[in-house]
Structures are given as C-alpha cells and as structure tokens.
C-alpha cells in the first residue's frame, strides 16, 4: 500500500503517481504536453537540469550540492531516524537522476525532487513504524479539536528561557509527536518555505487539504510547546 493512501478520502483521489519505483516517470506523464516556454528566461536551476539531462554528471552534482541539505532535513523530520534520512538522500537523488529524462520542466526541479524524497521517507517510516500512520481524513473541527485549551503568553521568549541544545531537544520531541501527514506539511511549508501551491504539488494534495493540515499542525505544535514556554506566575516556565 502506498504510504500516502491515507490521503485518498481527503483528496478524493488515489495517488498512483508517487507510489512506485517509477514514480517520477508517471508524475510527468500525467501532465500532458509541455507548452512552449521559448520567451521565458531559463533559471540557473533549469540550465543545470538540462545539462544533466544531456549527460553532464557535473551539472547533476551541482544540483545535489544545492539541495542535499534540504532533502536531508525533510527526510530526518519525516523519518525521525538518522540512518533512514541518509538512505532517503541517496535514494531520492538517484531516483531523480534515473528519471531526469522524464522530467518535463513544468514544475521547479526542487519541487519534483521533494516529491520523490517525501515519498521515499514515508515508505521508510511505514516500514519502520506502521502503527504510527494515522487517518488524516477528518475535517478541521473548530470547537472541540482546534480551540486551544489553555491560553497563556510565552514570556520570556523561549530562546531566553532555554539553552540552544535544550531548545533543540524540546522542538524535536514536540514535532515527533505530530502525525506524519501533519508533520510533513508543516516542514515543507513552514520550515523549508515552500508555497502552499508547491506543497500541494509535492504531496499531491489539494490546496484546501494543505491548508487544513497546516492549521492543525501549527495549532497542535503551539499547544504542545505551550507546556514548556507558557508564562508561569512565580515559576520559571519549566515543566
């Protein structure tokens, strides 16, 4: 089963495009004929892609250098495992290299690469922790589910309250507790800075589905961080 079959009710469609080893081939083949882009300036990224397509391995290495840190961060956030993240980096770039001839340049190379990497990471996660994959089909509930239970200022700022390593531990522990589907949207959108549209494209979700997950991810993270960061009367803010 595809690791993102959980999305089918939310999107109203299956995801055959990113479930198999030839994912990128199918992704591009569903997009139809490439429209003429003669008048548009070619980005540096696309110049590298075109050179790599022609067999310039050095150009592909430049693409690896450009995006390996991002792919590693995304993979580590999704898998929560260092070895899996390393495997995902290698597998995603190799899959991208193998499928470059089928990349028809209708999206950014990076968005296409992220799509491959996310799918690799979700497959790793499913193999390792199948019980953690939860249903993400529910609508956003506004009263019971999303309304914060406790409202308190964060003061002083968390950066002042904790050392860098303590803060890192808190943030890692907190985001690990989110369902993978929420975590993935949050990481792509808020950590890596993809647009809502790019995130939707990378995950094969609708824009409303991305927004719905993003809202829930943000609110759940806020709620969980609140346990550490809320202002305490006469206290030091620690649990």
């Amino acid at each position: 089963m595809s690791p993102i079959q959980q999305d089918t009710k939310e999107t109203g469609k299956m995801n055959p495009q990113i479930s198999g080893p030839d994912a990128s081939t199918e992704i591009e083949s569903t997009m139809g004929t490439l429209p003429s882009k003669v008048s548009e300036p070619v980005s540096e990224e696309m110049q590298l892609v075109r050179a790599a397509k022609k067999g310039d391995v050095g150009a592909f290495e430049d693409l690896v250098r450009r995006y390996d840190r991002n792919v590693f961060r995304i993979a580590q956030h999704i898998t929560q495992n260092r070895e899996d993240a390393e495997d995902v980096v290698q597998d995603a770039f190799l899959k991208a290299y193998s499928n470059l001839p089928q990349f028809q340049e209708q999206s950014k190379f990076y968005t296409w690469l992220v799509r491959i990497a996310v799918n690799e990471a979700l497959m790793k996660l499913r193999r390792r922790r199948p019980e953690r994959m939860v249903s993400l089909d529910e609508e956003v509930k506004t009263e019971e589910d999303s309304m914060p239970r406790e409202v308190a200022d964060w003061s002083p700022n968390p950066e002042q309250l904790y050392s860098q390593s303590e803060l890192g531990d808190i943030l890692r522990k907190t985001i690990q507790g989110l369902p993978a589907g929420f975590r993935t949207v949050f990481v792509l959108r808020d950590v890596e800075g993809l647009s809502t549209e790019e995130t939707a494209e990378a995950l094969d979700l609708s824009i409303p589905a991305v927004k719905s997950r993003l809202l829930r991810a943000r609110l759940q993270l806020r709620e969980r961080l609140n346990r550490y960061f809320r202002k305490r009367q006469g206290g030091d803010g620690n649990q």
Binding site: V57, L94, V140, D153, L215, L225
Partner: protein, 85 residues
C-alpha cells in the same frame, strides 16, 4: 466574528493570504479578544522558532560521503547506459 471563525482563518492570516476586508475583520477581533491575540502570537512564534532553529543540519563530513556515494552510482548508471540522455 467569533473565536472559532477567527481560528479557521488563522493560517491564511499568518500567511498574509487574506483579502483586505477579511484581514480587517480579523484584526478588529484581535483588538478586543485577548485569547485569540495570544493564540495568534504564540502560533506565529511556533512557526518562527522552528524556522530559525534548523533542527537537522547535515554535517559536512557526512555530506561529502553521501555526495560521493550518489555521484559514484550516477557515474555507474551512466556508464551502464541506463541514463539515456
């Protein structure tokens, strides 16, 4: 506007993706509803802190090893004729 209605629009508000009228309605709500103001502020801080901390940096030595492994396999694929440029 109720607090629930505010919450539904929070993501678009933080992403500056609302039209002018809706934005004005939300800001009017924020001006008198302290709870929603705090939720909005701390949600914004949540995003900023994750964005700023960059939790999983790729160490340079590991980065070099991964890149070498990737490029070696790419070269092998090219040599084997699997990469049909």
């Amino acid at each position: 506007m109720t607090c629930s209605e505010f919450l539904k629009e929070l993501t678009d508000y933080l992403d500056d993706a609302l039209d002018e009228r809706m934005r004005a309605d939300l800001e009017d709500h924020l001006a008198w509803c302290h709870n929603c103001y705090v939720v909005c502020d701390t949600t914004k801080k949540t995003i900023e802190i994750y964005r700023d901390q960059q939790l999983y940096e790729l160490p340079e030595d590991l980065r070099g090893r991964l890149r070498s492994a990737i490029m070696q396999k790419c070269a092998e694929k090219k040599k084997a004729g699997q990469h049909d440029a």
